[in-house]
Amino acid sequence: MQNPSIVLYGPGSAKLEDKPVPEIVDGHDVIVRIAFVGVCGSDVHFWNHGGIGKHVDLTAGIVMGHEASGTISSIGPAVTCVSVGDRVAIEPGVPCRFCSYCRSGSYHLCKDMRFAAAPGPPDTQGTLCKYFKVAEDFVYKVGDEMSLEETVLVEPTSVAVHAVKLADVRAGETVVVMGSGTIGLLCAAVARAFGAYRIILVDILDTKLEFAKLFLGCETFKPSTTASAEENASSLRSSLNLSSTCIDTVIEASGAAASIETGINVLRPGGKYVQTGMGKPKIEFPIGMISEKELMVRGCFRYGAGDYELAVSLLTRAIINVKPLISSTTRFEEATEAWKKTARGEGIKNLIRGVDD
């Protein structure tokens, strides 16, 4: 095979197939030899349901994967940022560059965004392959001291950077992160890098909170699944000696309705809330409290201008150590095992190794 690829055809149905090796057409494109691909909650959703919103075409299938690292194997004639052999993190979504969003610095909101493993039409193939083509300004060099396994984590770290920037976390703040999965842990780590003074991670699972304490040395809180949001918020504050005017920022990284409501309750008047977790599309929401407490509430989607650069810097300078988040590595041919493992809640970040030589 020239370009072995993992193709999803529908729920529970994936095949290893050969695909054409991508060719450089635009002078600014590069081809990356994929080293490692991470598994995300969205991959699990695709494996179980065949898509999120738009579903995979059952006859054509789609190459999966969007969190990837690799080495540059060829470059277009206009490329100046990277050379063949460079080790890179891949930003898996290339925008159109011509629309008003692209021109105004919000390329991540581009209507014609081509995001890896996103069904269309037009479909955009993902990174679970041997060779992946992408624009030169969407790959980021990493130093030799960073492994290509860790480099996969640049993608979720960029999600965290985007959330923390939207939350406008400043030095000295008290920040609560709801949900202690990969994204929640990284949001907490980035918030600390931005100068937050107290960081509290919230989750309903003891194992996740134990890990958070070890990984970050942060404070934690376990809400009751039977108490109301108001009661949980009150418990959180009193157990951590925080008054109702202390918590500046909440980053919601679980998407769970109860967690969302608790997050709004826990904030001080004038506080800031960013929704990065994705759960049920419609929920019951304490809209009255938004007004009474004059909260800033923002949505957060993927990552935009400057986020990947900052994520690479945080990892390269070892301000955030992502090694403890890597729980397993699975052979390319057994990629679906990695998805199933993640689906069972085993491990934090499970990796799939790229195609062997």
Binding site: R103, G105, G306
Partner: protein, 369 residues
């Protein structure tokens, strides 16, 4: 490519700056579409800017140095005659205002939305790039803005300086109910005054050393005008600027000072007076270009916690806003055009702008028919 309205015998006369003070008409090849996003425009009208005259007379502005011939002109309007295969916002026959600076779209500035800061911008008539004073000009389609039927081609050419004024007010973050002092009542000054009024400013004060220009500014958009007294013999120039600022504050009841100062002259005494006329915590925007280094009241800027920003060209949203301001009549650009020339008279037009007579305001050159 799709239907082009140029023929095999078509020519492309161009007004070329060959070297400092050396201009000539040349027949240049008709520019071809470079990629599927390009359009070719038959130029209708072109305004002349101080920067065009500066390249002609001095051959450089900052690091942009004339080292080979360039076609002049960058404030233009025209009709689309050819569109690339990926163009969706325009079709052949559309009348457009042209934004003359197209950035690279890939660098950190472009990706962050600050495309006016892109180092690889292709800017018409900034060396080494050719400008718009030719029969045809090609440009990326998203840098061409369709104008409504009731707007004429002269007004469309004026969209460029209006966009400069829109950018100045955007950088200054002009808000409703502010007091604004604008130094300079030339085209950029009066347009900045007009855009400030359109943004809801409470009071706009124009400052200039020409009474005639102030009279026009008062009839145009300014609420008040101010003619600074001349410095007395032997008077320290900095002290004179401070006095000027004090007089402005007192005469117009500005209290601690103006919320916003727009400096549209680049003249050292105006820069000094501008810093002194801003209120504590106010905003000062440098738009005018004069001496590269000046004596600057830096301690005043510090003690009074001023925000000082530079404004260059135009960025996201400026051109569409400018088209809207002209189309709705909120900014009347026709009144600024004092002299009109045919394409063949382009050199005369440049000489007129260079002579800087008081009655000459905005000069436009018609395109090749």
């Amino acid at each position: 490519m799709s239907s082009a309205t140029t023929t095999a015998t078509d020519t492309n006369p161009a007004f070329v700056l060959r070297a400092i003070k050396d201009v000539a008409f040349e027949n240049r090849p008709i520019p071809q579409l470079r990629d599927p996003h390009d359009v070719r425009v038959h130029i209708a009208q072109t305004g002349i800017c101080g920067s065009d005259v500066h390249y002609w007379q001095r051959g450089r502005i900052g690091d942009f140095i004339l080292s080979s011939p360039i076609i002049l002109g960058h404030e233009s309007s025209g009709t689309v005659v050819d569109v690339g295969s990926s163009v969706t916002n325009l079709k052949v026959g559309d009348r457009v205002a042209i934004e003359p600076g197209v950035p690279c779209r890939r660098c950190d500035y472009c990706r962050a939305g600050d495309y006016n800061l892109c180092n690889d911008t292709i800017f018409a008539a900034t060396p080494p790039w050719d400008g718009t004073l030719a029969k045809y000009y090609t440009v990326a389609s998203d840098y061409c803005y369709k104008i409504p039927d009731h707007m004429d081609m002269e007004e469309a050419a004026m969209v460029e300086p209006v966009s400069v004024a829109v950018q100045i007010c955007k950088v200054a973050d002009v808000r409703a109910n502010q007091t604004i002092v604008v130094f300079g009542a030339g085209p950029i000054g009066v347009l900045s005054q007009a855009v400030a009024k359109a943004s809801g400013a409470k009071k706009v004060i124009a400052v200039d050393i020409s009474q005639a220009r102030l009279d026009f500014a008062k009839s145009y958009a300014a609420d008040e005008t101010f003619l600074p007294p001349q410095a007395e013999q032997g008077e320290d120039p900095v002290a004179h600027s401070e006095k000027t600022a004090k007089m402005i504050k007192e005469q117009f009841g500005l209290g601690e000072g103006a919320d916003v100062v727009l400096e549209c002259t680049g003249a050292e005494p105006c820069i000094q007076a501008g810093i002194n006329v801003a209120r504590k915590g106010g905003t000062y925007v440098q738009a005018g270009m004069g001496k590269e280094n000046v004596v600057f009241p830096i301690t005043t800027a510090c003690i009074r916690a001023l925000t000082i920003k530079g404004s260059i060209r135009y960025s996201v949203g400026c051109y569409p806003n400018a088209v809207h301001l002209v189309a709705t009549g909120k900014v009347d650009v026709k009144r600024l055009i004092t002299n009109r020339f045919k394409f063949e008279e382009a050199e005369k037009a440049f000489e007129l702008v260079k002579a800087a007579q008081e009655g000459v305001f905005k000069v436009v050159i018609e395109g090749v028919q």
